[in-house]
Amino acid sequence: MTQIKMHLLVCGGTGCRSSHSEGVSQALNESLTNHGLDAEAKVVTTGCFGFCEKGPIVKVIPDNTFYVQVTPDDAEEIVKEHVLKGRKVQRLLYLDPEREKTVSDDRHMTFYKKQIRIALRNCGFIDPENIDEYIARDGYMALAKCLSEYTPQQVIDIIKKSGLRGRGGGGFPTGLKWEITARVQADQKYVICNADEGDPGAFMDRSILEGDPHSVIEAMAINGYCTGASRGLVYIRAEYPLAIKRLQIAIEQARTYGLLGENIFGTGFHFDIQLRYGAGAFVCGEETALIHSMEGKRGEPTFKPPFPSEHGYMGKPSNVNNVETYANIPVIILKGPAWFASIGTEKSKGTKVFALAGKVNNVGLIEVPMGITLREVIFEIGGGIKAGKEFKAVQTGGPSGGCLTARHLDTPIDYDNLLAAGSMMGSGGMIVMDQDDCMVSIAKFYLEFTVEESCGKCSPCRIGNKRLHEILEKICKGEGTMEDLEKLKNLSQVIKDTSLCGLGQTSPNPVLSTLENFWDEYVEHVVDKKCRAGVCKSLMKYTIDAEACVGCTACARACPVNAISGERKQPHTINPSICIKCGACMEKCKFNAVLLQ
């Protein structure tokens, strides 16, 4: 028998699949067969590598060669050159933008250098549709250990000692949450996994479910053992078809192995998992709303207490954690709480997965130790700002977070520091903005999202956010007043202070943080009627550079509202009171004489 000497890992995450990674796997397989190499090299579809910027990714093992933006047409060359002859395909290697050198071994890529992968340990490493590969990586060993060696309380103590905090946003200590659910007496309890990741621009949980579904299943079973629950429910976004499919396959495989179901490991412990689908409501990330949604109702939150730990799904005690939190559990059990607690800062232990996006060179999914600075994330891992522009702000925590500025770049990232800086950890969205982004418009963008996603149950969120959005729109149109800025402040405070659930309590954060950090920009919009980023159309003015204008009349003829006048062969002018800012003149002008300011 010939030994497999090479693995070709092809990213099968949603990002890479969107750029046709499935075709790449197929082409690789065909090519291997054609060259008679299929017994020596094997194509493995894995979860996300994180480096979504350059997908589809193909990684060749064992020499850690990292090919980027691979198309199905490249497959033949990879097989012929690399698999057969050991010659790396230069043109597909990642080009380090700073050193302008290709990097062949991903371990030397700055994108990966500062990362520590715990929750993502198996993503991009194993075939998520094959339980054996998970088991080979110590999978289900933690569950076995808990069931056979520890009491539920001992497991809870391990989690408590590890210092793990909820990765879904609030940062509640996970061990404590488990303990509360465990202590409540009830005939039935539930383990709930919140996989309703709704932050625009965040895909941490999806990547874990796509890349390593068993880690979540195993952790849920461990939680069931600790809390005394025999039923698990995963509330997952219906917009994540691939994650759903992989999770379903994983659950089936776990059942076949007897790792879910009756009498697991012969210990008399029963546990099984079902899926419930979300249907597009951001507010369902809030745990009480999520529970209502799982019960077939409108996803409206209810006042806490009672907390789900006491009164949850179907009125029974329910432990709700998100995907990333669960994904950390098996490793903590196996490597011990001290190891986990050695990573991170004093109050925030371990790592955090972020979806790094926006105006950075390396968009992607990263996992970094708590305490890393924003600078390291954005300028080292993220490779700096796109097109050499200037860094302006970074928005963390999704729509509920705040915009941080250059002065926060050296703040170590953890729950408490982000909160103190006026933002939050949230579920881990991180959007980088540059000089071309108008911060008033950004605040408006987030409010638009909140207005759309508010459930409408409580008045401050339902009406207050709408009013915030209206005021911001007014400002962007150049109709704002200084009084409006005061209104924004008061309204934001009251909405935070009085809203029913986390959505409303945090929705004004983008406004408050931009008011705090970019006050000048607001004042410019209001007083000078200027948008320095050039985003707010109403504040822009089309003018004609008299020196460049040759008087060809093309612009005047193109103008749909006759706002341009001028004699033939004489410089033209635009009447700003008539101009509708359609830009037709600028498009038509061959002499770059039409200016937009």
Binding site: A281, V451, G464, E470, S499
Partner: protein
């Protein structure tokens, strides 16, 4: 009883564990303003979505403000209900609510009785700083209820009433965010929904979003028309509540003043629905005995228990939800319709006028009656037996409109013959009353013996579902009572599943029966008002010399002169009805 010690506005108080901050403050004499919160204590009716955020208070050690209505007290809690932070937040929240509310208070049906308006007044709101788009929707008019949901503030009280209490399911919160509102499915008209017109949504709506269809203009027009003879009937529960609209204590009986007021308004005859209630007992009681006798004789076809049918919302309810049981309820028409039918035949003949020239107006504690009198089966050649049905509230407005000093009115008597009634007719106005009245008559007709004791305490009360066994001289009659359609549903399901052990069941749609009807003066969640009204009804009964329907001399005369016997062909034609299947039909193509 475990108690909790806490401090509210520097006052130390001790309350029962599980008490909310709102109730604890009330105990300490601190009235925290609230809006969406609503409860009928002791009747298991409570609405606390914690949605309006008007009742927020500051709890020491808590990051944000807490809604007093939903926050339970805990040991050592320190609460401020009037700090600057609280006052500013409360005012801003109210300003926000007002900013999404039409500014047409002057012409709003709820003006003067609107909880939002009084709150704005109490907080001294003089301008709306946060103006912007308002959520607007289509206006919807049904036979009984007008929905002007631009005025909806999402307190969810109507939704709670319609679903949790009444289990009607006509309304639900729909849409999301700024456009969220309470509406029927597909935001269609109420008329196309399974709405029963019980009016409980109207009874609890704090604003003008849900109001009754107002027929007083038509009534005024009829009164002013010299060619019309206009007569009026007043339902039993009206007299026990009308006084509240004029500042009288709840439970003050105003029968005599009401009659005077109606005369002053120009009604040609002032009659009493109680008369028709006695008539209903004659028909329904006889029907009960007839079915019972057949049953005792071994007739397997007979449907028992017999269900009362005088509540129009209840009739709508089973037509929508239990069409398979539509031959179970009594076929007797409601008192309102019996009255109309007799008025436009027997009485019109006596006056020697055409039914078209006789206008029958009813004063009802009810909104479903508006729908009921428009039903086709209660019309003769398109002319309805009852032309207009006004609610207690509409009557009060009419009296005020006509500059009548209600307090100065003398007490007068109803006109004859359709104004004479017994105590049995009066108690129709409360839960348990119809069946008690029926038992008084059925007992004597069945046993041929006089009742040893006229009142049946075991049938009275305000529990949602009650049951009692009445001894008919050896025959044990099992009686069930339900008020509130949710309770009715439970008994109905037993009947459907063949598990009911009752011989007769009384059902009233509204909590408390007609005293808590959708057309009554608003009780704003004060259950003591309902209790006082109920007490007044039983007092009126006790004050009557004749207290059994079959002893009403004018009823006896009506049968002698016109109808013959109960359940006679003529009685069937004029006093009975049939029911329809109104459930959703799926037609397969």
């Amino acid at each position: 009883m475990e108690t909790i010690k806490l401090t509210i506005d520097k006052k130390n108080i001790e309350v029962e564990k599980g008490t909310t901050v709102l109730k604890a403050a009330q105990k300490a004499g601190i009235d925290i303003p609230s809006l969406c919160y609503f409860s009928l204590d002791g009747m298991k009716i409570e609405n606390k979505p914690g949605g309006c955020r008007v009742c927020v208070v500051e709890v020491e050690g808590r990051r944000n403000l807490a809604p007093a209505c939903a926050t339970e007290v805990s040991e050592g809690m320190v609460i401020k209900t009037n700090s600057m932070r609280v006052l500013n937040a409360r005012r801003t929240v109210l300003e926000l609510i007002l900013s999404d509310h039409p500014f047409d208070c002057l012409v709003c049906a709820k003006s003067g009785n609107c909880e939002l308006q009084s709150l704005a007044h109490r907080m001294g709101v003089r301008e709306i700083p946060y103006q912007g788009a308002q959520s607007t929707y289509r206006k919807d008019t049904s036979p009984s209820i007008i929905r002007d949901i631009d005025k909806c503030i999402m307190c969810r009280r109507c939704e709670m009433m319609c679903n949790d209490v009444q289990t009607v399911g006509a309304l639900s919160a729909v849409n999301r965010g700024f456009m969220a509102v309470v509406a029927p499915a597909f935001e269609m008209n109420l008329e196309k929904s399974p709405c029963t017109y019980c009016g409980q949504c109207v009874a609890v709506c704090p604003t003008g979003a849900l109001t009754e269809v107002d027929h007083s203009r038509e009534v005024i027009k009829a009164l002013a028309d010299p060619t019309k003879t206009v007569i009026v009937q007043t339902a039993p529960a009206v007299r026990a509540a009308l006084g509240e609209e004029f500042g009288l204590k709840a439970g003050t009986l105003v029968t005599g003043k009401m009659v005077s007021a109606l005369r002053e308004l120009g009604f040609d005859y002032v009659f009493d629905t109680d008369f028709a209630a006695d008539l209903t007992i004659m028909e329904e009681g006889t029907e009960l005995l007839e079915r019972l006798t057949r049953y005792l004789n071994g007739d397997k076809q007979v449907r028992l228990p017999i269900l009362t049918s005088c509540c129009p919302a209840w009739v709508n309810f089973f037509e929508h939800n239990f069409p398979e049981l539509k031959d179970v309820p009594s076929t007797a028409r409601s008192p309102q319709q019996m009255f109309g039918s007799i008025a436009k035949t027997y009485f019109a003949k006596k006056l020697n006028i055409d039914r078209k020239d006789l206008v029958v107006v009813s004063i009802m504690p009810c909104l479903a009656k508006k729908y009921e009198c428009q039903r086709d089966e209660f019309k003769v050649d398109g002319n309805p037996d009852v032309d207009f049905s006004l609610s207690t509230r509409e009557l009060a407005n009419l009296i005020k409109l006509a500059n009548i000093d209600f307090h100065a009115l003398p007490e007068s008597e109803f006109d004859l013959p359709l104004g004479e009634s017994t105590g049995a007719g009066v108690i129709f106005g409360t839960t348990g009353g119809v069946i008690e009245a029926a038992v008084r008559t059925a007992y004597e007709l069945y046993t041929q013996k006089p009742l040893p004791k006229i009142t049946f305490e075991e049938l009275r009360g305000l529990d949602g579902i009650r049951s009692a066994t009445v001894d008919f001289d050896g025959l044990k009659l099992n009686i069930g009572i339900a008020h509130g359609l949710g309770n009715a549903r439970k008994l109905l399901e037993e009947v459907r599943d063949g598990k009911s052990h009752f011989h007769a069941i009384e059902i009233m749609a509204c909590p408390g029966g007609c005293i808590g009807g959708g057309g009554q003066p608003l009780h704003h969640g004060d259950v003591d008002i309902l209790r006082a009204r109920q007490k007044a009804i039983y007092l009126e009964d006790a004050n009557k010399t004749i207290r059994k329907s079959h002893e009403n001399p004018y009823i006896i005369k009506l049968y002698e002169e016109f109808l013959g016997q109960p359940l006679s062909e003529k009685a069937h034609h004029l006093l009975h009805t049939h029911y329809f299947d109104k459930s959703t039909q799926i037609i397969v193509e």
